[in-house]
Symmetry: C2
Subunit: 145 residues, 2 copies
Amino acid sequence: MITNMKHIKKELTDKNIKPTYQRLCILEYLHDNLVHPTVDMIYNKLVDRIPTMSKTTVYNTLKIFSENNIVNEITITGTETRYDTNCKSHQHFLCKKCKKIYDINITYQDSEIINKDIFGHKVQEIHGYFKGICKQCLENDKIKD
Amino acid sequence: MITNMKHIKKELTDKNIKPTYQRLCILEYLHDNLVHPTVDMIYNKLVDRIPTMSKTTVYNTLKIFSENNIVNEITITGTETRYDTNCKSHQHFLCKKCKKIYDINITYQDSEIINKDIFGHKVQEIHGYFKGICKQCLENDKIKD
DNA sequence: TTTCATATTTGTAATCATTACAGATTAATA
DNA sequence: TATTAATCTGTAATGATTACAAATATGAAA
Ligand SMILES: [Mn+2]
Ligand SMILES: [Mn+2]
Ligand SMILES: [Zn+2]
Ligand SMILES: [Zn+2]
């Protein structure tokens, strides 16, 4: 338990979300595992501690979190949604081989664009990401050669 | 038929892809409909002209096109893959309301990053997109008020 | 042309993530 | 305590995509 439970509870109550046990566990998991996990990763980890946990609850909870800007949904893989509690503006790197998503902190001039217009369209979110082969996979390949 | 068939045929033969009737029709559709269509949109349009067309063929063909860099797969909606034959570097705007994807031509310094390293990861693709409400939907909302 | 091998297309079934829904459980309120 | 609302749970349905095998078309040798 890396993250303080009181902070997590406050994060929910501040947004008028009832801090139920399931919600606290899911949010705690997200804060302690900043690897952009899938619903399955979250569920499979928590079901050990909470055997009654339902996958539907994970989906429902993440939907509430997303609507309240507690998590960001990342849909760059094309297969499943990944979840991110890092709400600071940042980019991502998706490894085509191992499917890991890394944070890339390149400071952009986001503030210039966000909530403004771009060709008449109202911008609410800015997403940027790179695809390729990650450092670790590159090194694994080297060893094979 | 806006695009010249000879050009389309050459595009395939240049990459050693047999220019079958189905493949030509799909590629022609993509060139004439630069709206980032879904598999369903492509299939439903083409099945009128080619009643034997199979949706699996659309999937197979787009996979071959993607592997040969004839189309780009866009996975920003989270629900289904959209396809783009505009291979010049450009950004996208996804409208949360009507789900239309618009091209946004902001010149980036892509060439500085592509095929180079970023924190040790090998970058092969750069993606950037915005989410919000598009011009047309904003205007439709105005009328309602 | 006929024969045979190969590539492509097609239709159906399977898979997998996500959503819909209704009943069970829990919490809040009177 | 009794009543009501919110939350959670399990299962069924949905929808996009993939797997697979049979049907069809293509193309080269004989
Ligand atoms: Mn992140
Ligand atoms: Mn485009
Ligand atoms: Zn990797
Ligand atoms: Zn719109």
